[in-house]
């Protein structure tokens, strides 16, 4: 049986070997014809069904009135909830010939009582579920980041001198090789001589420059194995207050690892790139620093750092690049009179790959600056050369429509809010996510505060604005059609409804944060969202972004020109069973959230 029933699939992988044996001994196989009802609404199912082969539809109502919830296919399980409750609320019908494993309710109940993790998975909500999955997929968290081996960091080749080399020669060699330590070989042993040792010997002990360097070496070397964790090397150095360890593979010397190398490895260059951005004194230097970002993103993702950390870090980096460019491009006497804002995903701090630049400039009413538009054009072009693609909707400062005085800007926001047109609503959605990155932030705040006050209690506006969030269908039933379509647009199906729905709620509550996660937290704090819902929505959004990102990176690497024409596409057959499960649950949450929005804003959808 074991090869037809996959115990490695969650939630069965959470069971102990004995429990798994119980499962294996209790499974039956059922065969169902196309169109046959496996579980009928209102009746008690036999147990939980795990599909060996085939496709099953979960639906409510009959014939034309039928509402399909979800499709299940190979390796998916269904009926767990129904059998625990003792009564099914939906119909489960075989869409094609289907063979299922059946785990009797009795056994399921026993397992839930004996195994808390398993029970959690069956009974808990989505965020608890994804946490469980995270704990169980070992290479998906911060720990992996800390589990790098010493051999993966920079192991430097040591500079070795023989016994009898004078202090003078040793120093000269160190200078030539740009090394800051030297190993002196005395017989079969190695001794370490650092720059500090040399200084102590010559200055404090006043030893002659011809003295044998092996006399001042310390032979109690602190060594590490190349297969040991880099993190342990760092701990050793901290404890012993030393700055380098010798890497020995058995009796063989491999090299030396220095404290600075370890530290820079852990900061994964982000620290270095940050420094380079700050120190850039010309556009050329800034450009070089900006190009390092792409590698940083890839490194962070491949080491499995949580997607939210990556986004935060990247938002900070991009912000610094733009601010620095602003510094370098805008004459300093003009800087207090203008404010550069970034909008859309950049404003929310939720971009990962470099997405389009969405930016605008707000200037003081009555400012006279002849070269303003020319300077802005130059600014946009430079950003493009840095690898920030131009905005297809031309929402950037090179477009005079997005360079406004405070008065004009508030007027524009107002006009958009009153218009029902799609484009105006789009512009507004982008603009309310704005975040000031450079110049005089007060200019931006004046406009924003006025606008938020203006919207107060304008129910018609919010009802209109929210509508976009429920416009696209939640693609839950795509799953069954895997063989025909096998892909879904995750932006329309999952990301946009969450981001826009939360944006509407936040706007109504006059929440100043622009980041979706922060907005969710603020909404929870304000009592507008239940804490559990907020958590679930956050996790769902993270999942969508993570899945999208992984597929984007793969497509970029597979394409010849490094360009992904379909950035929002999720190819379902590239997901494993667990990811499919989570994706389905996450989409279920989106569906619930959309329902909540329709009720709240009377969208009647």
């Amino acid at each position: 049986m074991s090869d037809s029933f996959k115990m490695d699939n969650i939630p069965f992988s959470l069971l102990t070997p004995q429990e798994q044996a119980t499962v294996e001994a209790s499974l039956d196989l059922g065969y169902y014809q196309q169109g046959e009802k496996i579980i009928t609404a209102g009746e008690a199912p036999e147990g939980v069904y795990i599909i060996l082969k085939g496709r099953v539809r979960e639906s409510e109502g009959a014939d034309e009135e039928q509402h399909i919830y979800v499709h299940y296919q190979n390796e998916d399980y269904f009926g767990g909830w129904s059998s625990l409750r003792g009564r099914a609320i939906h119909d489960f019908t075989a869409e094609e010939e289907t063979i299922c494993h059946i785990l009797p309710t009795q056994v399921l109940v026993e397992l839930i009582q004996s195994n808390a993790l398993f029970a959690d998975y069956f009974q808990q909500n989505f965020s608890a579920k994804s946490e469980l999955v995270e704990q169980h997929s070992r290479n998906q968290d911060m720990a992996e980041f800390m589990l790098s081996k010493i051999s993966s960091a920079t192991v430097r080749e040591p500079l070795v001198v023989e016994e009898g080399t004078s202090i003078r020669d040793a120093t000269r060699l160190m200078r030539e090789h740009k090394a800051d330590c030297v190993l002196a070989r005395k017989g079969g042993r190695y001794g370490m001589v650092t720059g500090t040792d040399l200084l102590d010997a010559v200055v404090l002990k006043e030893m002659p420059l011809d003295s044998d360097v092996s006399q001042i070496a310390s032979y109690r070397l602190v060594t590490a194995d190349p297969e040991d964790y880099l993190f342990n090397a760092l701990i050793t150095m901290t404890q012993q207050q030393i700055e380098r360890v010798v890497v020995m593979s058995g009796q063989q010397m491999v090299g030396i690892v220095e404290l600075t190398d370890v530290l820079s490895y852990f900061s994964s260059h982000s620290h270095v790139i940050g420094l380079r951005i700050e120190r850039a004194s010309s556009i050329g230097e800034l450009k070089e620093a900006a190009q390092g970002l792409h590698d940083l993103i890839k490194a962070l993702i491949s080491t499995g750092v949580k997607i939210r950390f990556t986004m935060d870090l990247l938002a900070a980096m991009n912000g610094r690049i733009i601010a620095k460019l602003f510094d370098l491009t805008i004459p300093s006497d003009m800087q207090p009179h203008v404010c550069l804002i970034v909008m859309g995903s950049e404003g929310r701090g939720e971009q990962i790959m470099k997405t389009d630049q969405d930016n605008a400039l707000i200037f003081r009413d009555g400012l006279s600056w002849k070269d303003m538009q020319a300077t802005m054009n130059r600014f946009s072009e430079t950003l493009i050369s840095f690898g920030f693609p131009p905005c297809p909707g031309n929402i950037m400062v090179s477009n005079p429509q997005w360079v406004n005085s405070v008065g004009d800007w508030t007027q524009k926001l107002n006009d958009w809010a009153e218009s029902c047109e799609g484009e105006a609503q789009m512009n507004l959605a982008i603009a309310v996510d704005a975040k000031p990155v450079a110049g005089n932030q007060a200019l931006y705040k004046v406009a924003r505060n006025w606008f938020l006050r203006h919207l107060r209690n304008n129910d018609v506006f919010f009802s209109h604005f929210a509508k976009a969030a429920i416009e696209f269908d939640t693609p839950l039933t795509f799953f069954g059609n895997l063989r025909d379509k096998g892909e879904l647009d995750i932006k329309k199906g999952g990301i946009f409804p969450i981001v826009h729905g939360i944006r509407t709620l936040a706007l109504e509550q006059r929440i100043l944060a622009t980041n979706t996660y922060e907005r969710i937290q603020a909404l929870v704090d304000a009592g507008q969202l239940q804490e559990q819902n907020g958590k679930d929505i956050s996790e769902a959004l993270s999942l969508f972004i993570q899945l999208r990102l992984r597929q984007q990176i793969r497509r970029v690497e597979e394409s010849d020109d490094g360009f992904d024409p379909t950035p929002n596409l999720i190819e379902l057959h590239k997901l494993n069973k667990m990811e499919r499960d989570l994706l389905r649950d996450a989409l279920q949450i989106v569906k619930g959230f959309k329902k909540h929005l329709s009720l709240r804003y009377h969208l009647g959808g």
Partner: protein
Amino acid sequence: MIIPRTIRRLQERRVHKNGPWAELFESYSGDEVVSLDCETTSLDVSKAEILSIGAVRIKGQKVKTSDRLDIRLKPPASLTGESIKVHKIRATDLSDGIELDEALDKLLAFIGNRPILGYYVNYDIRMIDKFLRPKYGFGLPNKSIELSHVYHDIIKWKHVGGDVDLRFDTIASKLDIPIIQRHTALGDAITVALMYVRLKHGQAPTSTH
């Protein structure tokens, strides 16, 4: 072959009518079928030894894999290189096997008087009879169902000309049934059971080529 077995069964039934195994000879009235498969050392009944026996009950549309028989026997002396190549069972794999007598008791209790289903089921029945008869004085009296006949009866009306391909793997793929652990007794018994349920309850396979 068929006629002598029928006659012999009638004789044996008369002899054992009042014996401890009388139940086996009663005609079966339930809706269950037992799918049976043996792994043996050779395909020649007179020389072969049984290595393992797998059986599973079928009730309606369900293959009751939770209610199954998975017996491994002590390795026989004739376990040679040739048969190992087919079913990949080595002597060491059978080191915890049970004695043949115990296995036969278990098997009879499991099957009862239910019909026996198998792929080339006569071979399996003859193998078991070979060891059963000297000890109990009778062979398996059960009705037998040959999977390839069931398949052939359904497929032949749709098949134009030529012989129907009755190979195990072909039938499985035509019926779109996943093969579960090929060349283990239990795995083959389950696969055959699934094919049977599919033939009995599903629509006839559309493509025969």
